[in-house]
Amino acid sequence: MPLLQIEGLTHYFGGLRAVYDFNLELEPGELVGIIGPNGAGKTTIFNLITGVYVPTRGKIVFDGTNLVGLPSHRIASLGVARTFQTIRLFRDLTVLDNVRIAHYSQLRYGVASAIARTRAFLAEEDRVRERSLELLRMLNLERYASLPARALPYGEQRRLEIARALACRPRLLLLDEPAAGMNPGEAARLMEFIQWVRREFSLTILLIEHQMRVVMGLCERIMVLDFGETIAHGPPEEIRRHPRVLEAYLGRGTAL
């Protein structure tokens, strides 16, 4: 059974067709890339999956649950986590708090025990702190734990965003242009990092990327979007030569 199944996903912003008849089946453990020029509807697809927008039409089924119409926090607690194209950390909060916040739905205590600071509350809080620090340790961010997120260097902020997403205990991770603003060297290291994260946390990953090199080296399958429509779909070698992709994505008469 596929982990994520998207059928006929269509979304309009007023008269603008942002996504049209998008279909995707993700098997557990896969790493699939979505590419396409600016405004092709890539981020919109992420926003539709995560409930930021409700699709005009279409079906999104995650592990047997229909996600359409669910609030974002429910979708996230079901195991769909994401990062953003432009980093959206809680900038003025500590690195540790950024990760702890993402445990919200995993904590079971109610308001009364929080206010009374009951034993159960303290035990749960201890666990979350432990786990958050463990995550930070794994991602090499532990030494920043008490600093505000905004004080981190750019690359570390990207990693923290992934740490925060991992704190939600996702099974599906959506990465929105993780290599944005990185030079080729940094992007290469990021690719290794993504591979490592996938193995370590046994994740299925859907990745939006602008830099061809990153997706080509990383993904098993690639979908190409242009003006909201899927114009090609296949393994990287195929996509590399696909005439419509070259035309839409790179311009006429270009080769990669």
């Binding site: 953003f84 919200y104 739905s105 904590l107 260097p153």
Partner: protein, 334 residues
């Protein structure tokens, strides 16, 4: 290793140890009635300010009609002691009366919160503004509770000890709320609401809780106020001056800081008393101070910092914006 300490902080025991003092001082006549009154005003204002800070400071929303909730609590508790409950048991029932007033205000808070948090931004300001006006004019039009003339007949049940105890309780509860998953949720709403939702935070739950808790304590403050003055009228709970004063105390002390609210409420209340000889001119000095404050120290006196007693043991200090800025090169890279 990183265990949250179970040991209560000494400072809270010290603060609690002062409770008998607030009973003994007036009994022995060691503190004159005027000072007692100022002390109680300070306490009531701290309760109001800390509550509103939860919504306006920690959560970054803008609620402007906090006195409306105070009014609901004041009238409900006054009606209970004057009409409903046997007078001779008043002193024993007083804490329950205050809780009832608080619950009534919390219910009003819930009614306001649920529709207003469906949308974003300035909407809450408008709804709370309207709520405050509705409370005021509703009471003005209910003849049974005296309409615009006000309501009286309460015994003087509020004393220094009750005010002090409720102030401590409020501070303790709000602190613990702030340092729980709900409090972190509230902070994440201020930082980036969409991102908060996407990392599993139930933002509506957090918003409604913060708002209802703020309303509850405003209701309690109203009950304390009603049984201190033994006379209340709708104008005591109007947008101006009461709601405005609470806003001023929040921003004076500093948003997102319990210590700030304690400072803000105390300084404001005391300065206002000291300026009494100036008469109407008080209302020139006070706003002017506020304008200057906003220009020279827009984050308030505490500027998002916190006092140690208001941080549970084992918790990290939360960084203050504008501080601890990027230290070039440090810490060492991997």
């Amino acid at each position: 290793m990183h265990k949250t300490s179970r040991k209560p902080q000494l400072i809270w025991w010290v603060l609690l140890a002062f409770l008998p003092v607030t009973v003994v001082l007036p009994e022995l006549g060691l503190i004159n009635p005027y000072l007692q009154q100022v002390f109680m005003y300070v306490g009531i204002n701290i309760i109001l300010t800390v509550g509103l800070n939860l919504v306006n400071g920690y959560m970054g929303e803008f609620s402007v009609g906090h006195a409306g909730f105070m009014g609901v609590g004041a009238y409900v508790s006054a009606i209970l002691t004057v009409w409903v409950l046997p007078r001779q048991y008043g002193p024993f029932l007083f804490p329950f009366v205050l809780v009832a007033g608080g619950l009534a205000a919390a219910l009003a808070g819930l009614v306001v919160a649920i529709p207003s948090f469906r949308t974003r931004g300035d909407y809450l300001a408008i709804v709370t503004l309207a709520f405050n006006m509705i409370v005021k004019s509703a009471i003005e039009n209910i003849e049974a509770v005296g309409g615009p003339r006000g309501f009286m007949g309460m015994d003087k049940l509020t004393n220094m000890a009750w005010v002090y105890a409720w102030t401590l309780l409020t501070l303790y509860c709000v602190r613990n709320f702030v340092y729980s998953r709900y409090g972190r949720g509230v902070l994440s709403i201020r930082e980036d609401e969409v991102a908060a939702e996407l990392v599993t935070v139930n933002t509506r739950q957090c918003k409604v809780l913060a708002f209802v808790i703020a309303a509850f304590f405003a209701g309690v403050a109203g009950g304390l106020f009603a049984h201190l003055l033994q006379f209340i009228n709708p104008r005591s709970f109007a947008l101006f001056p009461k709601s405005t004063e609470i806003l001023v105390m929040v921003y004076l002390g500093g948003i997102g800081s319990i210590g700030g609210s304690v400072l803000g409420a105390t300084i404001f209340t005391v300065v206002l008393e000291l300026l009494r000889p100036l008469g109407v001119w008080r209302w020139v000095v006070v706003p002017l101070t506020l304008v200057l404050l906003m220009i020279f120290r827009p984050t308030g006196i505490m500027g998002l910092r916190e006092w140690r007693p208001f941080i549970p043991p084992g918790e990290l200090l939360r960084p203050a914006p504008g501080r601890q800025e990027v230290k070039a090169g440090a810490p060492a890279a991997d």
